[in-house]
Amino acid sequence: MLLPKFDYHAPTTIDEACSMLGHYGAKAKILAGGTDLLVHMKKRLLSPEQIISLNKIEGLKEAFSQNGTGLVLGPLSTAAYLADSRLIQERISVLAQGASRLGSPLIRNRATVGGNLITARPASDLAPPLLVLSAKVTLKGPRGERTLPLEDFFLGPGQTAVQADEILTKILIPNIQGISAGAYIKLGTRKALEISLVNTACFLELAQDGSIKLARVALGAVAPIPLLTPSVSKILAGVKPKNMDDPVFREAARAAAQESKPITDHRGSADYRRYMVEILTWRTLKNAYSQLMEKV
């Protein structure tokens, strides 16, 4: 399969990339890892006249800790980097888990976190972990910079709040105060190169007295967008579970299933997916809670 023709630009600063994008607008596409964009171009689903590559811009490929605010992920951090980085594994292991399940080892060496969010696939492996971590994204365009919560970022399959002249420049993960743990489960019919039937991520944070201060569960592939489930957070907030088998986790999992809006397609039926949301949410919550018990 051949790529259509285009003009290629490789700016060396974000500002330069922004002014190019401001100039070309909807005629241009931003190239990060290329594992989605180039596939879409080969299949003629997209034929941008201009390609603006971010790969020659320094400093976008790594995550770092920012005093006071939390972690900053460069938009070009690859899935392999996120899966293997000690900083990510230690501080926000749920993201490392999601990243380790994306595509294949070959894809993970190219696919980027920014690209994964921008393509806004409902089955994204990185969006649910980032949603439960309360991530924010920074967008830069000709009118300046704005930062919005990731839950306001996704609008539909392939659709985001990003304007045609904006670039995703940063992903921010706020500091976590208390003892916390997360878990990610991806359900597919095989282990690699798979689009999830259902995926679930959860994040639990404990208060001083051992009760749950914050609980967040996000679901993939069961709604038009990666979905946060506020009802789960409500059920678990302030609860002090007896142990990981406490029925409250099953109750929360049932609420997650009710919030999901799966469809039937060749990968699975809506009923099956809804049931799997319950089971997988239950398992991720139990897993995260048992990690917490070990840390206390």
């Binding site: 790529l3 290629y8 190239l31 290329g34 299949k43 390609i51 080892p105 190219r110 190169l193």
Partner: protein, 151 residues
Amino acid sequence: MITLNVNDREYDLVIPVNRTLTQVLRENLKLTGTKQGCGVGDCGSCTILMDGRPVNSCLVLAAEAEGHKIETIEGLSEEGQLHPLQQAFVEHGSIQCGFCSPGMILSAKALLDKNPSPGETEIREAISGNLCRCTGYQKIVDAIQSVAKKV
């Protein structure tokens, strides 16, 4: 014009910007050991090493490979001697039609360079982006395991 560093040799090339690294390796440099399979990142037959990491070269613009160290299957043998992984693939009957072999060997090499004694699970994980259309996975895993032990 771009300069590519492939198997420790520098090549100056004038190519259209819409060429993938697979196309340039095969058509301009005549390094046809790198195969073009699905063209969309599913099969792994176009696997090459970019700065030591295996990637699908069909999803890399040749222009974006500039400044990186590219290694193809042709770069593995030294002075006419096959690389231990290549030798093991021959000895274990891991090559049937041969179309996946270059990619399999390069994915395996990247694994062994990072982890000289991987277990079977790690080996299967490392080659999970490389499909063998002959389905001869067991002998491929055997071959990689035999080299892992030697290290």
